[in-house]
Symmetry: C2
Subunit: 246 residues, 2 copies
């Protein structure tokens, strides 16, 4: 398996020989030290992956030749991580780890106790998008998660449109993971901010029909909670993808 992965959103419409953009060229040649003749997996983040050979290794305009292409088949539950925005680098890290774990969509939530200035959010969204791409390159995930614009928790809850909505919670009624019906087409997984949701917000969450699930009896940091919950949801709801045809 090639050691290098490059992102090319237009991969499906490119010809046999195509060019990487400047960012990907630099990452491939300057950071990863790939050379002409090396094999690379190019992916479009929408499930298409092509094994390619480097025709020209250039820090700004690297060119690749497609050898074989295959479309990944996405199977199992499409999980949306509905994550109250956390401060500093924690949210970046959550976005990366959720991508490693194959999340379908990331929905940043604005809740009462978030410790982030709202006017910073648009700039942060660009950064999160880049984290998704980088995590796809590193982890071998062929699907870049959808990244939704941050919305207030209340707005998110009134337009809930998932087969299953889970709330990682230390309070209230808890459904054991193994009692969840496996195989919903879509699932939202709601994780609170550093200061947790407020009592009022918990009321809204419970009234929305969100099912409480437990991550153990300790108070977890948001990042630990998000990773734990995604790992458990993948396992209990049955997320998987198939390899592309060889």
């Amino acid at each position: 398996m090639p050691r290098f992965r490059s992102y090319c959103p237009s991969l499906a419409v490119e010809g046999e020989i195509f060019q990487l953009d400047a960012f990907e060229s630099r990452h491939l040649v300057a950071t990863n030290r790939a050379r002409a003749g090396d094999e690379v997996i190019a992916f479009d983040g929408k499930g298409l992956e092509c094994t390619c050979r480097i025709v020209e290794a250039d820090r700004r305009n690297s060119r690749l030749r497609k050898l074989t292409c295959g479309k990944l088949v996405r199977m199992g539950t499409k999980i949306t991580l509905a994550q109250a925005v956390t401060k500093g680098k924690t949210m970046d890290s959550i976005v990366r780890r959720a991508t490693e774990l194959g999340v379908f969509r990331i929905q940043p939530l604005i809740s009462q106790r978030i410790q982030v200035r709202l006017n910073n959010l648009p700039r942060k969204s660009d950064k999160w998008k880049q984290q998704c791409i980088e995590a796809c390159k590193q982890s071998g995930n062929g699907w870049i998660p959808q990244l939704s614009a941050p919305v207030p928790l209340q707005h998110f809850l009134v337009s809930l449109d998932f087969d299953l909505t889970l709330l990682a919670s230390l309070r209230g009624r808890i459904t054991p993971w193994q009692n969840l019906d496996p195989g919903p087409a879509t699932c939202a997984l709601i994780i609170g901010p550093e200061g947790d949701f407020s009592t009022e917000e918990y009321k809204l969450l419970r009234n929305s029909g969100a099912v409480g699930v437990s991550l153990g009896r300790h108070v977890l940091r948001s990042e630990t909670a998000a990773v734990s919950a995604l790992a458990l949801a993948n396992q209990f709801l049955g997320y998987q993808t198939k390899s592309p045809p060889a």
Copy 2:
């Protein structure tokens, strides 16, 4: 429930009124801004927790009065995270998150591809110990994990003494989590370094009887792998602790 937690390793032998050390006093009074009269949970990291009232809030010598004490009952599998040492702050973070998730012991492993200078390890061990204490304070975990001295992977494997040894792996034979027998008294969970274990090390691991378990088909960062594996092991092996008597 009191908002503050203070670590007092000698809690069991202290009298009704006792003194916190300088570090804990500063954290309680300067960082957390606790005041005389506030309630605090003091814990010894070995399962004893006392609800206390602050008699004197002082940045160096705070004094507390015990109100009620209870001993946590440790139930379920004692999980040892056998983690190949990762570089920079990643290992600190793994230690914290493992503590949040109630790990019993942390065994740092020295493997071929670790990217850490070995002569830095003793200094790092002190820091990891502090991370354990801080994570116990934050998460409400009453048990500070045992922190073993780093050992080479080979040494660890020849003295394996667990009812079950799990290896998070992308290669070789995988046992589904739900097929593991629940309730082993002890379990080791082996997680590789950033560059993964070498082929030679994988051979040793498999020959040692370690059972391969999957964390999905993507290549996870060590931290994502450790948190995911602990969350799944807690769930499938049945970790839990009971609350102390009121």
